[in-house]
């Protein structure tokens, strides 16, 4: 049985087309732009080296995401494992946005993402933003479809709570400084995540 293989030129073109997605997925895992690009580059090169084992007709995006994810988790001491939200990024999010309430949401979302358990965060990003199906995401993460569904739903719930709580502090006072807002969201997110470890058992 010989499955057709993409020739190198076609593979290279498709892989190059996926670079923006590799970068976006890496950024969501690592949180740090420079480290994320290192990760995305290594994943791209690994995918290129492994091109013989890619089966044409299957989803190349899911295949490269699997490689990237394995790389991320296998090298724990690499810089890309650092998961933090830089207060300067937070400040920039707020300043660059012309709609303050939407900027607040976006900041709360960024912050919320950093405190979600890793497995929930990646499932939510892949399904909610990366355009992958539950089935593809399950394959990438090496677990059952039902597990992905429950991770996504728990992640959505937790984020909704974080965002809702963060809004309490801002309504009616547009003068709150961005750094205070950031501290406030961070604090609330911490409280929530320490509570949510308990229900992450099931």
């Amino acid at each position: 049985m010989t499955k057709p293989k993409l020739d190198d030129e076609a593979f290279k073109a498709e892989l190059a087309g996926l670079i923006p997605h590799l970068r976006a997925f890496a950024r969501s895992l690592s949180g740090n732009a420079t480290a994320a690009d290192d990760l995305a580059q290594e994943a791209m090169l690994k995918a290129w080296k492994a091109r013989e084992s890619y089966q044409q007709g299957t989803n190349l995006k899911a295949w490269t995401f699997t490689i990237l994810r394995n790389l991320f988790y296998s090298e724990k001491r690499r810089s890309w494992r650092r998961q933090q939200l830089d207060p300067e990024v937070a400040e920039a999010t707020l300043v660059a946005n012309d709609d303050p309430s939407s900027a607040m949401d976006l900041l709360a979302l960024r912050t919320g993402l950093t405190v979600l358990p890793e497995d929930q965060r990646e499932a939510l990003i892949l399904v909610g933003a990366g355009g992958l199906s539950y089935e593809e995401t399950a394959e990438i993460c090496g677990c059952a479809v039902g597990t992905i569904k429950s991770r996504v739903s728990r992640a959505r719930k937790a984020l909704a709570e974080i965002i809702e709580n963060s809004q309490g502090g801002f309504s009616g006072d547009g003068k709150l400084r961005a750094s205070e807002a950031f501290d406030d969201i961070m604090k609330q997110a911490d409280e929530l995540s320490s509570g949510s470890t308990a229900d992450a058992r099931n």
């Binding site: 190198d8 290279k12 892989l15 190059a16 670079i19 923006p20 997605h21 970068r23 976006a24 950024r27 969501s28 690009d37 995305a40 580059q41 791209m44 090169l45 290129w48 080296k49 939407s102 949401d105 976006l106 979302l109 960024r110 993402l113 939510l124 990003i125 909610g128 933003a129 990366g130 959505r156 984020l159 909704a160 965002i163 809702e164």
Partner: protein, 56 residues
Amino acid sequence: MEHQSSGSGDDDRSRKLRQKRIGDQLRRLYDEVTEEAVPVEFLNLLEQADKSKNQK
């Protein structure tokens, strides 16, 4: 439409609305990155890898 008893329906709607907003913002965060220009380094590395293959 009776408003007295529609409390849970409103909750439901506002929950859905919030979730939609989170979904939109999530995609925005992701697309912020996919819409960036790809650093030339990526394509250079890929070309290099392709060329070095032929030298083996």
